[in-house]
């Protein structure tokens, strides 16, 4: 395991934007913590109840009637559910949550069969949507329901849990510090937010919008990794490595910066090609989008000193680093 340390932690005077972003992310998380826990509990109730299985059964019937709109996985799952497989009904119920078409057409669809279950689902589906609407991640995340200009930015400050926040903030601190020293504070802020928006755009293009929101700063942080890779391509930077829990198998090492870029892009591409996006989880496409954006800007920065000076308030300290 290697971990970027780069320039380490600098004082708030040297990298004010990194510190502001860090504090902003933490305070947003703390501020929404109670609402988020409450929202999670509310949604958990639905996931644990019969609602999900019933939803799966109805979604199976819905797929059966709209075969052209669904791919092989959905069709096979639907066949299994219709033959009475309740485990698969639960999976299909979860997929239904992410399906825009079903969410839109489902409540008015003429379902047949178990009328009690249909009424139960209709009654509880409304409640389920309400529970999602009060959840801060659904409210401020980037999703098919919330995708106006504010959400392109706000989603970058929302995190699903404390571990998600911790990992992103640690990367922001170490990678962000280096980038802020290169670009200067205002340019760094502009770049950080733009990278997040670009990540969301890439996600939108490759996966498409779905009702489950995209949250987290990882798209922006991938952008930081992209730009730092191009700008400091040949430089050896400080990394922390850990192989075994005894000396000298952990400690500091100076490696070319592209090492971290290669490992990120490989794992993101493997995730993108190897995971079923319908099941959710890590938004690899957003990471790739952020990285691409970072690479693009890195090349612009390197190759066109004039342009970089014009657009960004170019910081002379970059020469110290190069």
């Amino acid at each position: 395991m290697i971990f970027p340390w780069f320039q380490g932690i600098k004082s708030i005077m040297k990298t004010p934007v990194v510190w502001i972003l860090l504090l902003l992310n933490i305070s947003v998380y703390v501020n929404f913590y109670y609402d988020q826990s409450l929202g999670n509990q509310e949604l958990e109730k639905f996931y644990e109840s019969e609602f999900l299985v019933i939803q799966g059964n109805l979604f199976a019937e819905f797929i059966d009637q709209n075969l052209g709109s669904y791919d092989d996985l959905y069709q096979k799952l639907s066949t299994k559910v219709l033959s009475g497989d309740r485990k698969k009904a639960s999976i299909l119920g979860q997929l239904a949550v992410r399906d825009n078409f079903f969410r839109k057409e489902g409540p008015s669809f003429p379902f047949t069969g178990d009328e009690v279950a249909i009424d139960y689902w209709k009654k509880n589906f409304r409640k389920f949507i309400d529970a999602q609407n009060i959840h801060p991640n659904y409210k401020w995340g980037f999703s098919s329901r919330n995708n106006d200009y504010i959400h392109w930015i706000s989603y970058q400050f929302m995190h699903s849990d404390i571990f998600h926040l911790f990992v992103n903030m640690v990367y922001l601190m170490f990678v962000g510090t280096t980038v802020e020293l290169i670009l200067g504070s205002m340019s760094f802020l502009l770049f950080y937010l733009s990278a997040g928006a670009a990540a969301a755009l890439f996600y939108l293009m490759l996966v498409g919008l779905n009702p489950v929101p995209l949250v987290g700063a990882s798209g922006s942080i991938s952008g930081l990794l992209g730009i730092v890779t191009v700008v400091l391509w040949k430089q050896r930077q400080k990394f922390f490595y850990f192989v075994l829990p005894i000396q000298p198998y952990f400690g500091w090492i100076y490696l070319p910066i592209w090492v971290i870029f290669i490992s990120s892009i490989l794992s993101d591409l493997a995730g993108y090609f190897g995971k079923l996006s319908v099941l959710g989880g890590v938004a690899y496409t957003a990471h790739i989008g952020g990285l691409m954006f970072g690479l693009f800007f890195g090349f612009l920065f390197r190759w066109s000193k004039t342009l970089s000076k014009g657009i960004f308030n170019h910081n002379n300290r970059v020469h110290e680093l190069q």
Partner: protein
């Protein structure tokens, strides 16, 4: 290939003696391990990307329960990793004499001859490395025993790994060698033993599950028990039972779970068959979700008002409202229908209401059914025993043993053992209690009956010495064992606390057993009265409530406090006016207390068969004779 610990001078091969300009040492084993870990991480990244499409297919196969496809794609993922690993090592060692991991820890791999490693040797080295992995990595331990610290793959490929860092390690010392060799021998033997045991288990598992796996392939719905039972389910009046009826029958006998029942109901809804019964099945299966269950029950009658299913749904509502009279009226109508599931529920109803004669009557009327044989044999034994026909119960049980499943056999054994032990300790030697020590081998599976039978068994063997029982119970790792241990060693008052505090949280059988012990050991009237007060506050609509009531009656009878016993019986009579046992006890006790008129009134309510339990029949017959003599004359 040089397998032995080579002597550099003798073989005239590359000299590894210290060179001042180019210091070379034998590779430190931990450096080698760390280098392998780093290489693994690097290969994983690349192979992860290359095998990404296979990972996707693997996930798909997993979701769709396509076992063989999942195995295939998993094997493909492993194969990609294997190929990447072989390529990476072969190329790196041949071209640069080190991998990235080795470079990080200043290690190099060279040929022991004075030339570059050939492609063949480089490839052989990594291939044999994998062979060593398949041997559970044990051959790697040669780095602690070989003079040049060369594991098998290095000796086979005429290579050696050395370190050019300052971490110096010499040839293995004698202690190091003997320690590792000493460890290796038992490790080898142990691994061989485990492997031979596991291989037979794997083969058996494979053979047993082959058919099952094929079924998954054929997309057969989940509830295989129903498919199997439907084929041989007995016909009634030449009409074959439907799958949903069979599922209901099996569910009522607790032979399939709610998921199975719901799967069948779901299929019925989808194919628009037997929708009314499907609603009823769904109501049963959602018993833990009262809102949904009630909705289903209401829907049964909305769907088909004059159907048997609707009548049965009403019975379920009567059960919920504890309206036993209406429930039994409706049951008597619906029982004519001869549906197995209805009869099973009726038997369960009458058993819980202690109307064993009625339950037995319905049971006798049930057709033979091999899928319900376990359930019916167990019920028949319990009913015969409860009716006082103990010998018949034992004969019935013994004759059904060959066809009983292990679980049912153990369950019924425990039930009979407990009943016998509650009567006298001499039964501890009976056949039913003989395998008592076997029950505790899987503490999580021990039922309450088994647990209390064990408790009683320990008491009998220690001749009532509770300290010995407590010591025996100390070894019990289950929650009930812990509770009973504390309740017994802490004495009567704490037992009462336990009953008061935990009545709502523990199974009723547990409470009834504790109350029985309290009543038995209580010396003061106040204690018994306070217990009776507690009992009156609790839910009377359980089988155990009546059991506890009888403990008080027995205790009061023993102490000749007939009025107190009558008061308890009157409370019980209000709840179950049809119970012969309560009525007969009331006749006897009222007569003994001098309330002959009251006893006679109770006698005139006798419209049922004289079968009874717990009442001293000689005494009872004598009292009836006296009552008849006195009141018939009048």
């Amino acid at each position: 290939m040089v397998l032995a610990n080579f002597d550099e001078e003798k073989y005239e091969i590359r000299n590894y003696a210290q060179d001042k300009k180019n210091p070379r040492h034998l590779a430190y084993p931990l450096d080698r391990l760390a280098a392998q870990i780093v290489d693994f991480a690097i290969i994983l990244m690349f192979s992860g990307l290359l095998s990404a499409p296979f990972q996707k297919n693997f996930e798909l196969a997993k979701i769709l329960d396509q076992v063989w496809e999942a195995v295939f794609w998993f094997a493909a993922i492993i194969l990609v990793f294997f190929i990447c690993h072989i390529f990476y090592h072969t190329i790196c060692i041949r071209v640069w004499e080190q991998t990235l991991g080795k470079k990080l820890f200043s290690l190099k791999v060279v040929s022991i001859w004075k030339r570059k490693i050939s492609w063949k040797n480089s490839f052989m080295r990594v291939l044999i490395w994998w062979f060593e992995v398949l041997c559970l990595g044990i051959p790697f331990l040669a780095v602690f025993t070989n003079l040049k610290r060369r594991p098998f793959h290095e000796r086979m490929s005429d290579t050696i790994c050395f370190s050019y860092s300052h971490r110096i390690v010499g040839p293995p010392s004698l202690n190091e060698k003997s320690f590792v060799k000493g460890l290796m021998i038992p490790f080898y033997l142990g691994a061989l033993l485990i492997f031979s045991i596991n291989i037979s288990t794997i083969v058996n598992f494979w053979l047993e599950n082959r058919e099952k796996l094929n079924d998954y392939q054929a997309n057969i719905p989940r509830c295989e028990e129903v498919i199997e039972a439907t084929a041989d389910w007995p016909k009634y009046n030449g009409v074959k039972a439907t799958r949903l009826e069979v599922a209901m029958g099996l569910y009522s006998a607790e032979l399939v779970d709610k998921d199975c029942l719901l799967s069948e109901a779901q299929s019925a809804f989808y194919y628009k068959r037997e929708q009314t019964l499907a609603y009823l099945a769904s109501a049963f299966a959602h018993e833990n979700n009262s809102e949904l269950s009630n909705e289903y029950l209401m829907k049964v009658c909305k769907s088909k008002e004059n159907s048997n299913e609707c009548l049965f749904a009403r019975i379920v509502n009567f059960w919920a409202e504890k309206d036993w009279v209406k429930a039994e009226e409706a049951l008597s109508k619906v029982i004519m229908n001869d549906k197995t599931y209805i009869k099973n529920w009726a038997i369960k109803h009458y058993m819980s209401r202690r109307q064993h004669e009625k339950a037995y009557e319905i049971l006798s009327d049930l057709q033979n059914n091999e899928y319900l044989s376990n359930f019916l044999a167990s019920i028949r034994t319990q009913l015969l025993w409860s009716l006082g026909r103990e010998e018949e119960a034992l004969v019935s049980f013994n004759s059904s043993i060959p066809s009983l499943s292990k679980t049912y056999k153990r369950k019924t054994h425990a039930w009979l053992c407990l009943k016998q032990l509650n009567r006298s300790c001499e039964s501890a030697k009976s056949d039913f209690c003989s395998d008592i020590s076997e029950w505790n081998k899987h503490p999580k599976q021990v039922s309450l009956e088994e647990y209390f039978a064990q408790l009683r068994y320990f008491e009998c063997n220690s001749q009532g010495n509770l300290k010995t029982v407590a010591q025996l119970l100390r070894g019990q790792k289950n929650e009930l064992g812990e509770r009973a241990f504390h309740s017994i060693v802490r004495g009567e008052s704490s037992m009462q606390d336990l009953v008061n505090k935990s009545y709502k949280f523990v199974p009723s059988l547990f409470t009834s057993e504790l109350v029985r012990r309290l009543v038995e050991t209580s010396n003061t009237n106040e204690n018994i009265k306070s217990l009776e007060k507690f009992w009156r506050k609790t839910n009377p609509y359980t089988k155990e409530w009546e059991d506890i009531g009888y403990f008080f009656v027995d205790k009061y009878k023993k102490d000749r406090k007939f009025n107190d016993a009558i008061a308890v019986l009157n409370s019980m009579y209000q709840i179950t006016p049809n119970s012969n046992m309560i009525r007969k006890n009331l006749i006897v006790l009222n007569y003994l207390e001098g309330n002959k008129k009251r006893a006679w009134d109770f006698f005139n309510k006798d419209e049922r068969s004289p079968a009874s339990v717990k009442v001293d029949s000689a005494n009872y017959n004598n009292i009836i004779f006296q009552l008849k003599k006195e009141f018939l004359k009048k």
